[in-house]
Symmetry: C2
Subunit: 126 residues, 2 copies
DNA sequence: GTCATAATCAGACTTATTCTAAATGACGAA
DNA sequence: TTCGTCATTTAGAATAAGTCTGATTATGAC
């Protein structure tokens, strides 16, 4: 009694979407495809899926969190013009981790990167 | 008619605080020091100061934005236990910028890093 | 089938932030 | 000075994202 139909439905929406949908996007998608879900369930599902490591939550400085079903280590890049969020697969060099540990004295668990700029499409149209 | 007394007061609070205060922290600080300000003014001031490049806004995945009066290029590291936010001065190597540009096709304007881990104080007390 | 527990639901609530409309203040022109 | 204009401040209403509540509805174990 874990991956309920609602949770699976939420997961499927995230998997299918190539963008990184927000809770509201997911709600809209589910409603449009004729499923009746409550907001509480969507958020519950997102939390469950995050704990289950099936998705991850992205907080990239917008008001609403986005969700990503790609679980391999990666970062994100946001277009400042059209708002689209792409995967950023460029890995951070190991020396950077080491330098952070050394410079801050922290036990570093995780380093998150959000780049910003103009996406290829928006570069073309000024 | 620009850097009004209220805006200066907000700026001074951020300058004086070694932590990175939220709007609510700033409000509290001002009220405690006997100044009557409205929330709208605090937010207006924060926006003005940000535009004037006197402070910057930090969105590090918490619900509330924090504000930082240190303007030189730098990043942040958050303690997962006590929540404190420290400066992360370790610069990102130039090759990383180049690699991001190459890998994504974006015109990269800015790369933001938020590291997470255990601060030196919290490492000591398990 | 019965029971305990977990998940769902609608809607109320909270928190951070923005908006609104009225009041205040600063400055330049007459 | 007095006026008019326009930016700023204010209190409180409005919004947006997310969480909580209490009642209802599955689900699986027995």
């Amino acid at each position: 009694m874990k991956l309920t139909p609602q949770r699976k439905a939420v997961f499927d929406v995230i998997l299918a979407s190539r963008d990184h949908p927000t809770a509201a996007d997911i709600m809209e998608h589910l409603r449009n495809s004729g499923q009746r879900v409550s907001y509480a369930t969507v958020y519950n599902s997102l939390k469950y899926l995050t704990n289950a490591q099936l998705i991850r939550e992205l907080k990239i400085g917008e008001s609403a969190s986005r969700y990503d079903a790609r679980m391999e280590a990666h970062h994100h890049i946001v277009c400042e013009k059209c708002g689209r969020v792409d995967e950023l697969l460029t890995p951070l060099p190991n020396e950077y981790w080491q330098a952070v540990t050394k410079d801050t004295g922290y036990d570093v668990h995780d380093i998150d990167i959000v780049a910003r700029g103009l996406c290829p499409d928006c570069r073309r149209q000024p």
